[in-house]
Each structure stands twice: as structure tokens, then as C-alpha cells.
């Protein structure tokens, strides 16, 4: 009889990381966002071992984040597309990228720049959907 359970917090962060937190998963998703939908190209651009990448793609497809589409019949060939749920991971990629741009960019500045359709270089900011103000670490508290 040790103390009562004290089971780990169930939390959306934890649940999300169970799906996309494994090594290479988010990099594979990044590649699809960049338009590289094919296996070989992904291995080249991410540096992931082919085996690991294959496993990751399988779990991402199973999780409904990617969709595997055949683009060639006879030598059966497939490419990976984002589902709606997958597309909604873009904010995650963008905030990771923003942090790296700020804290890890070397001399040459950020290695990859994105342009928002408003014409400016994209700097991703997280705001409160209700009031539109930026959200900083100290500006939230637990509800209820």
C-alpha cells in the first residue's frame, strides 16, 4: 500500500507528444510541409535512418496525421500527404522554428526564411484567440 496512485498527469501536451514526439516524426512532417512527400527525399533531407523513418511514417499514418497515396501503379510508389489534422500541426513546427531562429541561429541567421502571404517575413507569434494579445509565460493561469 504505497500512497494513492499519483498517476502521471493526463495532459494534451503528453498525448500529443506520444504521437509526434518520437525522434524524426516532426522532421518528417516538416518535410511534407516543405513539399517533399517521398520516402527517399525525406531520408535525404532529414538524415533519418530509412528504417526509423519507415516506422515513423507508419505511426503517423495510423494516427491520422499523414495519408499514404499511391502515385505509381506498377512499381508501387507512394507519397505522403498531410491530413487536416496534420496541417494543424503547422503552428507547432512554426513555434519550434521561431525558437531555434531566436536562440540557435548561427552567424548566417536563420537557415530557412518563410514569407507570410501578407508579404512580410513570417515571425510566428502565439496569441490568445479571444483578445488577440500575445501570450507570454506569466500571462496565464490554470482555470477552475
Amino acid at each position: 500500500m504505497t500512497s494513492p496512485a499519483a498517476q502521471p498527469r493526463t495532459c494534451s501536451v503528453a498525448r500529443t507528444l506520444e504521437l509526434v514526439g518520437e525522434k524524426w516524426a516532426l522532421l518528417a512532417i516538416r518535410e511534407v510541409f516543405l513539399g517533399n512527400r517521398r520516402f527517399d527525399e525525406m531520408t535525404r533531407c532529414t538524415g533519418a535512418p530509412r528504417d526509423t523513418l519507415a516506422a515513423r511514417l507508419r505511426t503517423l499514418v495510423a494516427a491520422g496525421i499523414l495519408e499514404r497515396r499511391q502515385y505509381s501503379e506498377h512499381p508501387a510508389r507512394f507519397e505522403y500527404h498531410l491530413t487536416e489534422a496534420g496541417r494543424e500541426l503547422y503552428p507547432v513546427i512554426l513555434t519550434l522554428m521561431r525558437w531555434g531562429d531566436t536562440h540557435l541561429a548561427g552567424d548566417g541567421g536563420p537557415p530557412l526564411l518563410l514569407e507570410h502571404h501578407c508579404g512580410h517575413r513570417l515571425v510566428a507569434e502565439v496569441t490568445c484567440e479571444a483578445c488577440g494579445e500575445p501570450v507570454a509565460a506569466g500571462s496565464t493561469r490554470r482555470q477552475r
Copy 2:
């Protein structure tokens, strides 16, 4: 002489994930955001093995994301605080949480609700710092 190098893309996403992409790292950071700064509490709330958590905390401190502060002299006791760089990971946590809330919340809805200081429940949105508009998957392109 195979084809030219074709080395993996250097990218802020990849670099950031090298620091915070290991298992449990982001959950440890989440705990610090929630105010749980002590080792044992973190193991309880995350479910991470003690050894693994200890290793993760070390790398996060080395990366300048957490700071280890002594709060007791004689039984030397430490707690972990976010550095400025660490605090700036809040957007990453929030976007992960938002995705999980949207796609993985069970019957009971999101397990943890945050309130923005504007008074509304926080729903995190990623916007373009320049124009303030939300950023969707299709609304960006590579610059240059």
C-alpha cells in the same frame, strides 16, 4: 563519388528538436511552467523514470533552458527554474497543447484549461507578427 553530399537540411526545427525533442524533455518543461520545480514532483507528474528525467534535466540545464537553484543548504536540494530562453518555449507547449485539445481530447474535454489574463479561456493561435493575421498551412512560402 556518389552525388554531392546531400547532407540533411540544417533547419531551426531540427536544431531545436535536438535540445528539446528527446523523450520527456518537453514534459519536464511543462511541469516547470505549471510550477512543479522539484525532481520528485516531476517524476510523479510526468511518469518519467528517475534516471531518464535526471539526464534530461542535465541536458536542459546545459542548454541554458533551465537553471538549477539550490533552495536548501544541508541536505543539498535543488529546484529548476526556466531561464529566459526556457520561458520562450511556452509557445511550443501551447501549440502542442492546442493540437491535443483539438484532436485528442476525450469525452471530458481538454484535461487542463488555461485562462489568459484577458479573462477568457486561452486558445492559442499562431499569428504573423507583422500583420497579426493567423497563419495557416498554405499561407506561407519560402523566402528568396
